[in-house]
């Protein structure tokens, strides 16, 4: 499990969704890297792709709602990061299907997805939590 306590934002709904994303990405990476023939992995790979396409959209939607409620000033640029990732997931899924389940595409997808998720949660999303904490402090002052 690649999840770390330091990734917690302090917002239960978002933290649970992040943990679920990390669980799924961990499973996905472990499956893709398993030293067995690719044909034996395709079922789980396809399941993960279907999950990611739905869950990522739901999670991003909830995260953007949180930012809206907080009045987070970087929502437009954060939303752009989300949109780019959704477009990438959709595009790579289509290419994978059209290529007849080509392994190379999924190896590349797993590497990029892993790095993207860690950075997004460890860095970009922490800025939302920092903003929320600053806002709360200002309210109490």
């Amino acid at each position: 499990m690649l999840w770390k306590e330091k990734y917690m934002l302090g917002v239960p709904l978002i933290d649970e969704q992040h943990q679920e994303l990390f669980r799924r990405v961990t499973d996905f990476v472990e499956t893709v890297r398993k030293p067995i023939p690719w044909e034996q992995k395709t079922e789980q790979v396809n399941r993960t792709l279907d999950f990611m396409k739905d869950y990522v959209v739901t999670h991003f939607h909830d995260e953007e709602n949180l930012q809206r409620e907080l009045g987070y000033p970087e929502l437009p640029s954060h939303r752009k990061l989300h949109q780019e990732m959704v477009a990438y997931v959709v595009s790579v899924s289509r290419q994978y299907e059209e290529s007849g389940n080509q392994e190379q595409l999924m190896q590349q997808f797993a590497g990029r997805l892993l790095a993207w998720l860690i950075n997004h949660v460890a860095s970009e999303d922490q800025k939302i939590a920092d903003f929320a904490r600053r806002k709360e402090q200002e309210t109490h002052e």
């Binding site: 990476v29 590497g111 892993l114």
Partner: protein, 151 residues
């Protein structure tokens, strides 16, 4: 401007390595002439806008494998394959994106292009000749070369 530019990329690298890989000791040093760097992978990130050109990141094999081991929570990785190259390309992309944000705060507005693996013999056994800069960490080094020009 050159120092500011270079510093933006060094600082972005330091921040990304700390946040993503928990690396605390990140410093810079000169690359010794002829320093051995066999097995390296060079990732190029194109830049367009107020500045144009490329940023080159040169990763020795062991550095890359260790970075991926950290990210995967200890998974054994022994070869630089598509999975590793893609993860390292994304990290180069993330570093460059952060440097662009820092530059935009100085009113230098640029966009970056998707990472590309540099396929050249030069990248196989040497750091980029004119970079002279190596970023050192607990898990190895990374060559950094900023090749950008004002419009």
């Amino acid at each position: 401007m050159n120092n500011t530019l270079h510093l933006s990329f060094f600082e972005a690298t330091r921040e990304v390595f700390e946040l993503m890989l928990d690396l605390q000791k990140v410093s810079e040093s000169a690359v010794a002439p002829g320093e051995d760097a066999c097995g390296n992978l060079t990732i190029s990130i194109g830049v367009i806008g107020d500045l144009t050109g490329d940023i080159l990141y040169t990763f020795p094999k062991e550095t890359m494998l260790e970075m991926v081991r950290i990210m995967t929570g200890g998974m054994e990785v022994s070869e630089v394959d598509d999975f590793v190259t893609s993860a390292i390309g994304e990290i180069s992309n993330i570093i460059s994106g952060k440097a662009m944000i820092a530059l935009s705060e100085r009113n230098v507005v640029c966009d970056i292009l998707p990472p590309k693996v540099v396929e050249s013999e030069e990248s196989v056994c040497a750091y980029p000749v004119d970079s002279n800069t190596k970023i050192n960490t607990e898990i190895g080094s990374v060559g950094l070369e900023v090749r950008l020009q004002s419009k």
